[in-house]
């Protein structure tokens, strides 16, 4: 079960003394995030910006019972930190580390599955619950409060979509980035499931990816749901193509446009409105949401 952090949810920062960790700690505190403790092996400081710092995760967990851990470690340490967080049973782990080795990412998924915890990422920019809490590296300055949730793989395109929406006066309820890496933990389904139940979210935008089968999995899930909210989707890359001469990596030579067309049709069948062009993300959602209101 995926639970969005509120302003009360206790949050742990692992790798708190890294450059990103420190930077994000300040931003998170300013935003009102309930950061309760940090973990770092590299400091003798007992506190940072008023937040207690521990060397061992167990001590922090016993005292503060965090429900989310956000990992800002280097690629070399990310796996170890995910293992530690999973072993103490923190239910949601957000791994923001980019360039995590693939085998490490596979091991992260294995441990998350074994311990029954959600692992967002690696390479996730985290979760933003607008005006409540920021657990990750999403730039809060872009987000106005509203009732559209944005879920995406690519962070840059998520920002673009949010920008287009806010230009038209549409705000965001929650933003979740799953990560751009091939091998990620949490997929769309648990996140969308939670968003469908979220009373602050009226519509959902999905920024998908050409690679993989996660969009198909999502469409199959959505099809089964009743009382759905309006869902939109866009996938970039239809003019690119994959041209591997050797099928060694298990990839066949295929046109991205074919994959995207396939995903588009599957989305459509599941009742998801597909947006064809990146510059129309904002306007098409605006149109769909306002004309719906008009009918009522």
């Amino acid at each position: 079960m995926f639970v969005f952090p509120s302003s009360k949810t206790p949050v742990l920062f692992q790798g708190i003394t890294s450059e990103t960790g420190l930077d994000q700690l300040q931003k998170a505190l300013e935003y009102g995030t309930n950061v309760v403790a940090g973990i770092s092996q590299e400091t003798h400081l007992k506190t940072l910006m008023g937040i207690p710092v521990f060397k061992k995760i167990k001590q922090a967990v016993q005292k503060y019972h965090p429900k989310i851990s956000v990992i800002f470690s280097t690629p070399a340490h990310a796996l170890e930190d995910v293992i530690q967080a999973a072993e103490v049973g923190i239910p949601l782990i957000v791994c923001t580390t980019e360039h995590v080795p693939m085998h490490d990412a596979l091991k992260m998924q294995m441990i998350a599955k074994e311990k029954g915890v959600q692992l967002l990422g690696p390479s996730s920019n985290g979760i933003l619950n607008v005006n409540q809490s920021i657990t990750g590296t999403l730039p809060t300055h872009l987000f106005q409060s509203g009732d559209i949730a944005v879920v995406g793989r690519s962070s840059s395109l998520v920002y673009e979509a949010v920008f287009q929406l806010s230009e038209l006066g549409l705000g965001i309820s929650k933003c979740i980035t799953l990560g751009t890496d091939h091998l990620i933990g949490t997929t769309y389904v648990p996140v969308i499931q939670a968003l469908l139940k979220d009373s602050n979210t009226k519509a959902i935008l999905i920024i998908g990816q050409v690679h993989g089968q996660l969009e198909q999995e999502l469409a199959a899930f959505i099809k089964k749901q009743k009382n759905r909210k309006k869902i939109f989707a866009y996938i970039p890359g239809k003019y690119l193509m994959r041209s591997d001469k050797r099928p060694l990596l298990g990839m066949k030579s295929v046109l991205f446009s074919d994959i995207i067309e396939q995903k588009k049709q599957i989305f459509k069948k599941a009742g998801i409105q597909y947006i064809d062009s990146v510059d129309q993300i904002g306007s098409q959602i605006f149109q769909a949401l306002t004309s719906k209101k008009g009918k009522k």
């Binding site: 998924q109 690519s154 840059s156 395109l157 091939h182 060694l248």
Partner: protein, 379 residues
Amino acid sequence: MELSEYYVKEIFHSAGLPVLKGKIAYTPEEAQKVAQELGGDAFWLKPQMMTTLPIYTADELNNKFFATTPMEVGQKAKIIMGEMTNELSPVYSSTIQKLYIEQAVLVDIFCRLVFRVDFEKFGISFSITQDNLEILSLPVQNMQLDKKFYQTVCHSLNIKNSTIKKEFLNILNKSFQLFLDYGAMALELSPVVRKNNTLIIVDGRLIFDPDSLFRFPELEKCREIKLGHEREALAKKNSFRYTGLGGNIACLSNGIGLGWATIDLIQENKGNVACLLDVGTNPTVKSITTALKLALAEPNVDAILVNIFGGTTSCKTVAQGLIDAAGEISTGIPIVVRMVGLDAAEGESILRKSIIPFYCTSQMKKAVQEIMRQLKEEC
């Protein structure tokens, strides 16, 4: 990242995998000498080039790259290193400068084996190919080879000879361990051949995960730039990504998703993208400068579109990088810049103050339309 065959063979040899003796040669004379040193009555002369070469066929191994005496090795080396470029073009895109001289056996292909990271199934997959047909493909559960795995594999190959079976399992275990040890994206043994009652790995590839290379600094000295991939290598060195696409509009963007979406928009407006330069979400002035300079230096680039979304990227940094590059290489190529988000106003003001006529806008569509207009005007 991939290594040339002769490096991979060295790694295979140290891992205890059955490979034949071999040595690299840079001239036909050297090739002959190497063959003499190796000894034996059969040799292969394998071209070592960093291209996406097809796997050797049995015919190539038994005829084209095959010699029986050191003298023949020298003669064939002359032909391969001199004339092969034309003969096998376009597969071989440059002259051959290195030959791996290896003791040879008559090739009776047993099978090809591949372990790889499976992006669709989020795990490790293993497959066996015989006579160009995939006869088995199965996941490696929990990143471990278990009893059931061995049984399935041996059953699919129908191995009856107990010595061969033992050798095969040995190859399977050692190669999988190697795959794990290097955190590799893929490990390919192809082909594995049978010689009397033993198995030999004739060729193999080890594809490294670029993100795990920090654990293996010793591989750095073996790194070669793939032919035709010099731009990609320069980009990687400067922390951005280069993708060549063949058109005439270069696209510089931050973040792969935004980059791809920008390409889509350019193509939708009847433009043709030359390359994508993705500077990522935390670019430096230097990476921007190097990226733009790369685009400016491409002969087929007639216009450049910069699409930057300032989420975590500061548009000031981007503007400075663009000015540095355009100031150094003045080509008169139109550069259209779309910047929004963090420090966008400051970034735009930096660009407007410069003597280079950047066209600035905050609208993505407008930027694409402007670039198409300027290209039309040029014609």
